[in-house]
């Protein structure tokens, strides 16, 4: 019995190590090749140590492309979207969990209903509305539609449901208004869900692509995703430009990677925000 467990465990390790290597390798080789010359990256893409170590790709990104501007746009949009989305989702989640008002069930049903609307189906329709409202090709048009999402509201409501009401009743009795109670009593207790939602919102708006493709056309409004997409489809220069493309991919991954590694315990403690009840 004991022996079988050990044998199985060793076999399991081998499988897991091989799989982990497969999952990690693309990122490692992308970083390495971004420091090679184009010729070397083409002839010897697998070499683990660049023969001529060069920052040329990164230099070209910063001086010859819109990368700095794209990064600034991405950062600005991501921060605004994350702050407001977490706030609006929390507010709505709290109201649906705690406050009694007419129409609450209908609104909850509405939010659940829109959860079923696939975002890609909305691309063209959203473009139509942005144009109608005169928001097309502006920061407002890129940002406002992302400021609330049904999944986030649901995650927050679920978490608020799990916090005992008695705790805030004391504050209510004390005469604190609904917002005071929400802001200084209940929301701090929902910190795990807030952090989870912050991370998901940050990651989601940093990685957002489809919406920015349909909400803007000016090059000045490129984000990292739409800007790097133009690099990848090779609209400038000749050759395969692999080091340049890989360098762009590496750079745009760094912020989410940092957030991921800092918060990985929280991110991967599965459904911390949603399920904990």
């Amino acid at each position: 019995m004991k022996e079988r467990v050990t044998g199985g465990l060793i076999a399991g390790y081998v499988v897991l190590v091989v799989l982990a290597a497969v999952y990690i390798y693309p990122f490692v080789i992308a970083v390495i090749d971004s420091f090679k010359t184009e010729a070397e990256a083409t002839q010897d893409p697998m070499g683990l140590i660049p023969q001529t170590f060069t920052f040329a790709a990164y230099e070209q990104l910063f001086t010859g492309t819109g990368m700095p501007l794209w990064a600034a746009n991405s950062l600005f949009i991501t921060v605004v979207v994350t702050v407001f989305r977490v706030f609006f989702d929390s507010l709505a989640g709290y109201a649906l969990s705690r406050l009694h008002f007419r129409g609450r069930n209908a609104i909850f049903a509405l939010f659940i209903g829109v959860l079923a609307v696939p975002s890609v189906v909305l691309m063209v329709p959203r473009f139509l509305v942005l144009k109608e409202l005169g928001l097309y090709d502006s920061y407002a048009g890129m940002i406002i539609p992302l400021l609330a999402d049904a999944a986030g509201i649901f995650i927050m409501k679920q978490f608020f449901d799990s916090i005992p009401v008695s705790i805030e009743e004391a504050a209510r009795i004390d005469g604190a208004g609904a917002f005071r109670t929400f802001w200084s009593v209940t929301l701090p207790m929902a910190a795990p869900a807030v952090i989870t939602l912050t991370i998901l919102s940050f990651q989601g708006s940093w990685n957002e692509f489809a919406h920015f493709i349909i909400a803007r056309q000016s090059p000045e409004l490129h984000t990292l995703t739409t800007g790097v997409a133009t690099l990848l489809s090779g609209q400038l220069g000749s050759g395969n430009q692999f080091p340049l493309k890989l360098a762009a991919a590496v750079l745009m991954t760094i912020p989410v990677a940092i957030v991921f590694f800092v918060f990985q315990r929280r991110i991967m403690s599965t459904t911390e925000g949603g399920e904990k009840g």
Partner: protein, 389 residues
């Protein structure tokens, strides 16, 4: 705080607070309702209108004398009319069907496998493995597709690795040949049997319908499995933790081997999570857009298109907003149908379970689904996630 213990006061206050509470409630949900109403519900209504008109994209589709209602013409253009648009649409559906048929089972099986392996009680470095498997799920679809374009280039990393085994790899992104066609070719069937090359359903010939995913599309399939298996692994881990270790241990005590235990104990108990993952997978794969958009410069691109991409290109490149809106709605119907089929199947299973189980299981599943949807939306499937049961 001092008034906490005074008994009669709260009742009165609370009664008075109800009115204020209603106002507060509405104020709290107002921002979310406005955003969701204006940018989610209004677009659907507007697009539905546009899908019934011949609007050419100029000026507004509303209150515009130049815009005429054409009934179902736009829908006919992609389903019954014998046009190039219909054939392009038919091809995008064919491509997407194969994408779904391959990605969903593969990502579900791999995610489940990873979760079971990582969940072993005696395993060390658990968090390292979880990190390794989940990391691809947090990167952007653009970055990861860029890396895959590099890995799968003609003389790229993947072909060199295959080369060590003495196999000459294909020129991945330039190879439009369907893998079923290739298999048929290997057994001597290199062309369509009589009549199979005539335009069939949606203008696509039967021979093309059975082509299978193109070699180029297999790369996108691998990419999708690579980037979603980590997310779904986390959902399965949550499910496994819910099941608890005791059950499996009890089975092992009874003498069942690990494989038996998995098939007859663990998997049945994970059934709700399996359904969540299948549903999210079906919804997500029908929405593939980012990766398609990025590969539109590649030679085999016609074998990579999806309805989601085609809706985009009809609106922005062909200047056919009516047809674009019609495609969006057909896609919407497909996804709703998939969800309903899933729900129906899930409902069937639930009825067989005990009522008690249903009640404890439901909140967890709802949470899992919201969590999975939010994660998918945040990760490389962004623009391909979002949906939910």
């Amino acid at each position: 705080m001092s008034s906490v213990s005074t008994a009669p006061a709260p009742r009165k206050r609370r009664g008075g607070a109800r009115g204020g509470e209603a106002v507060a409630g509405w104020l709290f949900v107002l921002p979310a309702i406005l955003i969701i109403g204006i940018f989610l519900i209004a677009p659907i209504a507007l697009a539905l209108w546009v899908s019934f008109t011949d609007w050419n994209g100029r000026n507004s589709p509303l209150f515009n004398d130049n815009v005429e209602v054409v009934g179902l013409e736009n829908y006919a253009a992609i389903t019954t009319d014998d046009t190039l648009t219909r054939e392009l649409f038919g091809r995008s559906i064919r491509n997407n069907v194969y994408y779904v048929l391959f990605v969903v089972p593969l990502q579900t099986a791999l995610a489940l496998f990873l979760a079971v392996q990582v969940n072993r009680r005696l395993l060390r470095a658990k968090s390292f493995f979880r990190t390794a498997f989940y990391f691809p799920s947090v990167t952007s679809s653009i970055a990861i597709t860029g890396v895959f374009l590099f890995l799968f280039s003609a003389t790229g990393v993947v072909n060199r690795i295959i080369g060590w085994m003495g196999v000459e790899g294909p020129n991945w992104f330039a190879d439009p040949n369907g893998i079923f066609h290739n298999l048929l070719g290997a057994v001597g069937v290199s062309g369509p049997p009589g009549g199979w090359d005539a335009p069939g359903f949606l203008g696509v010939s039967a021979w093309q319908w059975i082509a299978g995913p193109s070699v180029a599309q297999t790369v996108l399939i691998m990419l999708a499995v690579f980037t979603t298996s980590g997310t779904f692994m986390l959902l399965f881990l949550a499910g496994l933790q819910n099941v608890g270790a005791e059950v499996g241990e009890a089975a092992t005590m009874d003498g069942a081997g690990p494989v038996r235990t998995f098939w007859s104990v663990t998997l049945p108990m994970l059934r709700p999570t399996v359904f969540t993952v299948l549903t999210l997978g079906l919804i997500g794969t029908w929405q593939v857009f980012d990766q398609v958009y990025l590969t539109r410069g590649t030679p085999a691109f016609p074998t990579l298109t999806s309805p989601a991409y085609m809706a985009y290109s009809e609106a922005f490149e062909e200047n056919e907003p009516g047809i674009a809106a019609a495609i969006a709605f057909v896609l919407f119907l497909i996804i709703i149908a998939m969800t309903l089929i899933q729900r129906w199947a899930l409902g069937e299973r639930d009825e067989r379970g005990t009522g008690k189980k249903k009640r404890t299981g439901a909140p967890l599943q709802a949470g899992l689904t919201a969590d999975g949807a939010a994660r998918l939306q945040a990760g490389p499937q962004a623009g391909t996630g979002g949906g939910l049961t």
